[in-house]
Amino acid sequence: MSSLEQMYQQVIMDHAREAHGRGLVDLDLVQVGESHQVNTTCGDEIRLRVGLDHDTVASVTWEGQGCSISQASVSVLHELVEGQDLTDAEATMEAFRALMQAKGEAPDDDQEEILGDATAFVGVGKYPARIKCAMLGWMAFKDAIIQARKDQS
C-alpha cells in the first residue's frame, strides 16, 4: 500500500462521500455550545454544535465544507463521540490527537479500541500540512464543549 493509499483508506473515502452528522440540529438541552473553526490555509470551515445532557455528549452536529480528510474526520468524530460520556469523549479526543502526532505509526491495541474507524487516519500523521485538516472538526468539538459548559440556557 503506497503512502497515498494508506492515507486515503476506504473508510475515509466512504466517510468523505457520505458524511455523518452534517446539518446543525436545533437542541432543546440545558447546555449547548457551538464553535466555528477556519483552516486559514485553504479557507475550509466547520461550524459544530454540541449538546450536553448532564455528563453525556447528547448531540454533535456540524456544517461546513472542506477536503476529504476534514470531512471524513468530522464524520467519524460524530460517530465516535455522540452518546459518549464526557470522560470517554475526552479520551477519544486525546487518542485522536496522539494518532496525529504519531507520524504514521500504528496505534497500540488500547488506542485502536478507542479510535475505531478513526484508526484509518493513521496515514495522515505523515503529512504535517494535512494534520490541520484532520483536526479541524476535533478543534471545533473541543471548543464547543468548553462553550457548552459555560452555557446554562
Binding site: 492515507m7 486515503y8 473515502m13 462521500r17 485553504c42 479557507g43 477536503c67 476529504s68
Partner: protein
C-alpha cells in the same frame, strides 16, 4: 531561448522527494528556487565583507556599503528606475504597506507640510480591483479605516478579467490612489496597465502597481509604465528570502513620511522631535538585510543576463502547454481565460479546480507523484469567491521549468478524478 543547461545553476532542483521520485517544482509563483550565483553572493558577503553599511569608517564597512549600493543600482536598472528610487523592504507586502501606512501617517499629522499631498480623509476614495492578492487589498482597507476614506474596487468578469466599462465611474476626482496588480497570481492575467494609469493620471490619483508576479517573468520598465509606485519581492525573482523593494518616483518618496522609525533614517534627533533623511534612506530604518540585498542584486543581474524577453517567451510557452493539457482533462476547470485567443494575456501558470475534489486532495495526489504545486486560496480569497470556489490548485513556472515538468503535471492531474471516484 534560455540556455539548455540552465537547470544546473539551481542546486535544489536535483533533489528527490517522496519515494525517491525526482522533484517537479511547480510552485515558483509562491517562491522561486535560487541559482548558485545568488547563494554565492550572499555567502561571499558574510565571509569576506560583512559589516554595518553607511556608518562605519573602516574598510569592511566601506566594502559592505559599496556592495549594498551596487545592488540598489542593479535592481534599479533591472526595472528602469534610478537607484535612489529603490527602497529596500522585507518583501513586497512590506513595500505596499510602506506606501499605505505612509499615507496614513501623513493623514495623522506626521511628515509636516511636504506630506500634505498624501493626506486622505472622509470623501476621498481608494480604488483597488477584485483580483488583488491580500497584500494589495488589506493595507488599503486599513488605510480607509484609519482615514475615513472609502474603498472601492474594479470588478472582474467570469474569466477574472478586470471590467473596465465603469472605470470612469469608479476612478474619479475623489480617487486618491489606484492600486492594482500587474499580473494576477491566480489567473496569470496581465492587467491593462496603460488604460488604468491613464485614467488615474486624468483624475490625479497615485498609482501603485503590485509587480510581484510580473517583475520575475517579463520585462518591466517603470518609466514606460508611468506608474508612481511598484512593489516587488526578491524571493520570486530567483533571489533570497527576506528582501524586496519598493520603486517610487523620487519626488514622491522624498515627501512621503516613513512608517518604520529608527536609526539610519533620521537626520537630527532630539528627545522631542526628529527630522528625516531623504529617500531612500528615510524608509530604511534599522540594520538592513544587507546580505539579502547583495543576493537580490545578483538575482537581478542573473535574470537580466538571461534576457527578460527570453524569460517571458519561455514562461508563456510553459503556461500554454499546461493550459492546453488541462483543457483536455474532463472534470477539470481552468481559472482564468480559456482558449488560445483569450489566453494571449496569460503568463507563467495554470490554476485549476477539479470538480468534486478538494484542492488539498488534488495537491496530495500530485505531491505523491513528486509534483510540488500550491493548493488553497493563494492569499486571494475575494477572487476565489468571485469564481464560486474556496480554493484551487496552482502550477506555476519559472525559467527552470521544463516542458517535461508541464507534462508531468498534466499526467498526474488526469489521474485525480478517478482516484477520488468522481470521474464522469
Amino acid at each position: 531561448m534560455l540556455p539548455a543547461n540552465l537547470r544546473e545553476d539551481f542546486p535544489l532542483l536535483t533533489r528527490t522527494v517522496r519515494n525517491g521520485k525526482p522533484l517537479v517544482y511547480l510552485d515558483s509563483g509562491a517562491t522561486a528556487q535560487k541559482p548558485r550565483v545568488v547563494l554565492d553572493a550572499e555567502r561571499d558577503f558574510y565571509e569576506a565583507h560583512n559589516a554595518a553599511v553607511q556608518r562605519g569608517a573602516h574598510l569592511l564597512a566601506e566594502e559592505a556599503t559599496e556592495l549594498f549600493e551596487g545592488a540598489r543600482a542593479d535592481v534599479a536598472a533591472f526595472v528602469g528606475a534610478q537607484a535612489e528610487e529603490i527602497v529596500w523592504t522585507e518583501n513586497a507586502t512590506a513595500a505596499i504597506n510602506l506606501v499605505a501606512s505612509g499615507m496614513g501617517n501623513a493623514s495623522a499629522g506626521i511628515g509636516g507640510d511636504e506630506s500634505a499631498r498624501f493626506r486622505l480623509g472622509p470623501g476621498d476614495e481608494i480604488c483597488v480591483t477584485e483580483t488583488e492578492h491580500h497584500a494589495n487589498l488589506v493595507p488599503w482597507q486599513a488605510l480607509a479605516t484609519r482615514t475615513g476614506a472609502t474603498l472601492r474596487w474594479l470588478p472582474v468578469d467570469d474569466e477574472g478579467r478586470m471590467i473596465l466599462d465603469d472605470l470612469d465611474q469608479l476612478v474619479t476626482e475623489r480617487t486618491r490612489v489606484l492600486a492594482f496588480t500587474h499580473v494576477s497570481n491566480v489567473t496569470g492575467l496581465i492587467s491593462p496597465v496603460q488604460t488604468l494609469v491613464e485614467r488615474a493620471k486624468a483624475v490625479g490619483a497615485f498609482t501603485v502597481l503590485d509587480g510581484c508576479q510580473s517583475v520575475p517573468h517579463l520585462p518591466v520598465d517603470v518609466r514606460a509604465l508611468d506608474i508612481d509606485f511598484m512593489a516587488m519581492s526578491a524571493h520570486k525573482m530567483l533571489g533570497p528570502t527576506g528582501i524586496g523593494a519598493l520603486y517610487g518616483r523620487k519626488e514622491l518618496l522624498d515627501a512621503l513620511p516613513p512608517s518604520i522609525f529608527g536609526g539610519g533614517a533620521v537626520k537630527v534627533v532630539t528627545m522631542e522631535e526628529t527630522s528625516w533623511q531623504e529617500a531612500p534612506m528615510r524608509f530604511e530604518a534599522g540594520s538592513q538585510p544587507v546580505a539579502q540585498i547583495v543576493g537580490m542584486g545578483a538575482a537581478a543581474r542573473y535574470l537580466g543576463g538571461l534576457g527578460m524577453a527570453e524569460v517571458e517567451a519561455h514562461e508563456r510557452h510553459i503556461a500554454a502547454i499546461m493550459r492546453e493539457g488541462v483543457a483536455q482533462i474532463p472534470g477539470v476547470r481552468l481559472l482564468g481565460p480559456i482558449g488560445d485567443e483569450n489566453a494571449r494575456d496569460v503568463i507563467g501558470l495554470a490554476t485549476v479546480v477539479v470538480d468534486g475534489v478538494h484542492p488539498h486532495d488534488v495537491g496530495q495526489v500530485l505531491d505523491d507523484a513528486g509534483i510540488a504545486v500550491r493548493v488553497g486560496h493563494h492569499c486571494n480569497q475575494p477572487l476565489h469567491r468571485r469564481f464560486g470556489v474556496t480554493g484551487s490548485t496552482r502550477a506555476s513556472a519559472h525559467v527552470y521549468t521544463t516542458e517535461d515538468d508541464a507534462r508531468a503535471f498534466i499526467e498526474a492531474l488526469a489521474t485525480v478524478p478517478a482516484f477520488f471516484g468522481v470521474s464522469s
